[in-house]
Amino acid sequence: MNEDEYRFTLDRREFLKLVGSGIVVFFTTGDPFALPQRRGRGYPEDFNAYLRIGEDGRVTCFTGKIEMGQGIHTSLAQMLAEELDVPLDSVDMVMGDTDLCMYDSGTFGSRSTKYFGPPLRQAAAEARAILIQLASEQLRVDQRNLVAKEGVIFHQQNPQKKISYAQLAQGQKIERHLEEKPLIKPYQKHTISGRPTDRMDARQKVTGEAKFAGDIRLPGMLHAKILRPPAHGATIKGVDVSAAKEIEGVKIIQDEDLIAVLHKHPDMAEKALELIKAQFEPSGSKLDNQNIFRHLKDSAPEGDVVTEKGNLEDGKRLSAKTFEKTYYNHYVAHAPSEPHTALANIEENKATVWASTQSPFRAQAEVAQVLGFPQEKVRVITLFVGCGFGGKNQGYQIVEAARLAKLTGKPVQVAWSRKEEFFYDSFRPAAVIDIKSGLDGSNKIVFWEYHNYFAGDRSSQPFYDIPHLKVLSMGGWGGRSGGRSVHPFGTGAWRGPGSNTNVFAMESQVDVMAEAAAMDPLEFRLHNLKDERMKRVLIAAAKKFGKSFSRTPSGKGYGLTCTDYLGTYLATIAEVDVNKNNGKVQVKRVVCAQDTGEVINPEGVRMQIEGCITMGLGYSFTEEIRFSNGRILDENFDTYEIPRFSWTPQIETVLVDNPEMPPQGCGEPAITSMGAVIANAVYDAVGKRMFTLPITPDQILKALS
């Protein structure tokens, strides 16, 4: 069907009616990715978020962004409260509800604070200006003599003369559209933004009251379990559901490709599913972990030039020493704590879907399409999301729940099991990086040729001062960039997409050259950097680390990296112990210095850095999806090991002060250095370089023998 048939013109007046009374300011996010890509999608295009000061004085921010642990629920509220001069606890965030919030393409790429924060501030400043104007009229005081503080406006000289935001909002229905960019407070005047602030969602989360998509209970709801193929590419030949039918209360749906059992209890649905007998034609895939890298190189599309400077032949000629290495990483799963879940309910031709998703509006469009409903007849509600990391940008469970709700006429929950989660994940792609590089007689990097197969190009642009370089990207992490047909299963963005692989390759290669230059890793990097901001984070990290580097391998087990992740600069240092008998590595300490521009919530930034470091140990040491002939061999956390308490090193974070720079992202940067910093530290410890992620004990023992 033509997509045009699903278009509708959202009646703007209807929408404004929903918003309710009070003082409302509409505004537009600064993120070009967040807006509808085509006109006529049916959303107002002149704004995509708004805030409201209600008659009770409470301030609500409505945004299509979602909270999955990264903490924007708190940091965005801080930005709003600061600019509006209200107490932080008077702010409510309404997130990811497609009826109440405006279109947003999704929450990913460390973009929320960076792009949504600044216009939110301006909208708050506009609201404050409206309130001051209203107060001036009501108090009969010149605006210049009025001051706002904690939701109250008062006369500067006569503080008894005052009026609250709640009083001012009474009986009002003021709508303003943010057209001009009002002045916002300089950071020096901030008292809420920039201060370490505890998570505003913590109380709900420690009491068990926080609701995730799977926690909604509706009368008459059914839990669905769906028949899955044993392998990617396997097709169904025959199915016998007769035994499953015997279970009391079970309902069976067979609709084209969808075979599902439903029951009022999820475990009973699962039991019934186990009784279905199905035969499958095996997958034609012959790929596995061993032959995948060869396959990727053979199937690579023609490369795109990511960046180019000087000329490679000149670079080679200038090189006194050249280095040629290949780096690999395996497929990695998102493994979110909360598996993909959705509950769909259809009443009077309107579908309501509670979904664990990073992209509620994408989900809305997909549900509308599969049900044949206009988009305004689909409401997607996003509650708290239990991890995303890019894995919940898509979710077939949402469409499955919607189809089953339509077929059964009941509310239906589809909650993936851990096995389904590992099967249908959009994995971080396996990738190969070939690097040729060269040093001149003064140990400057003068030549850099970088061929990237399927990692994606993010963080592949060298930030070192290199006169002759070329970076090619052959296939990326997602569908658009040509990876889909090549990988044996779905791939997609994984926290810091592309960058984890690129930083691993690039910063390993830099260490190789540092050793050849007879310089220590810090000295060599500073020698080859012109970027003062990068030097500053390196020095900040080294100062915090407090121990001196030596030319590798020193036996000390110190590793160093630096990187630029979409404008956030960071340097990471790790100290490791390698057990040469069993190949096991214990990370003792990790220091990370990060310059993320203006910091909104220092506590939140530290939490993200710590989380990135901890999670990053997984892809550094153990995380690798094993597969064969379309089957995913890792189905749970017994064989797919993720970081645990005992892995956790001492973690120290340094927030490099840079408040003049607008806030940058912080949910992903620190994870992107982890593979590299571990590889470099292991090399420093044992004198053997690991070229493949994850760095398993087997790889280490093999290198040592």
Binding site: M68, G69, Q70, G71, D198, R199, D201, A202, R203, K205, V206, T207, G208, A210, K211, F212, G214, D215, R217, H223, A243, E246, I247, E248, K264, H265, P266, D267, M268, E274, L275, A335, P336, S337, E338, F384, V385, G386, C387, F389, A415, S417, R418, E603, M607, E610, G611, C612, T614, M615, F637, D638, I642, P643, R644, F645, S646, W647, T648, I651
Partner: protein, 163 residues
């Protein structure tokens, strides 16, 4: 067909005696979440590898996704909904908030109950004790260091010391 006859089970849940009529082999996790609509206890791996579904049975931590209903007969079950008393948070909950020892919050109920069970037996745990006892509880967001600090703070609060 693989499902045994339903029976009545009587046990204490968060201090109140209740009756559940169901099949004895059903796992406690689903009885809690589906039959009793107590959704604070989370499903994450379903096979006992992650600790997200941890609840207490007679003050012992159990993985409710692996714990059959018949085993709770006559016993006392405590879930996250029963950790605070009379609207007041338990010191562990306070300490988790104070240390921001959570991000997405999905593993948090299991973490809190695992920690509570540990502190009942060992009111003064060392970092090593905490790591060893909590090793089976996974946090994908990577809040482990803060959780360790929060447990130590809570332990001090519970011993009547200054946090």
């Amino acid at each position: 067909m693989g499902i045994t006859m339903e029976k009545n089970f009587r046990f204490k849940l968060n201090g109140k005696t209740i009756n559940v009529i169901s099949s004895p082999d059903r796992m406690l996790l689903w009885v809690l979440r589906s039959d009793l609509e107590l959704t604070g206890t989370k499903y994450s791996c379903g096979e006992g590898f992650c600790g997200a579904c941890t609840v207490l049975v007679d003050n012992e931590p159990v993985l409710s996704c692996q714990f059959p209903l018949k085993e709770v007969e006559g016993k006392e079950v405590m879930t996250i909904e029963g950790l605070g008393k009379n609207g007041k948070l338990h010191p562990l909950q306070d300490a988790f908030m104070q240390h921001n020892a959570l991000q997405c919050g999905y593993c948090t109920p299991g973490m809190l109950l695992g920690a509570y069970a540990m502190l009942l037996k060992n009111p003064e745990p060392s970092t090593k004790d905490i790591v060893e006892t909590m090793e089976g509880n996974l946090c994908r967001c990577g809040s482990y260091t803060r959780i360790i600090q929060a447990i130590q703070t809570a332990a001090r609060m519970m011993r009547g010391e200054r946090p």
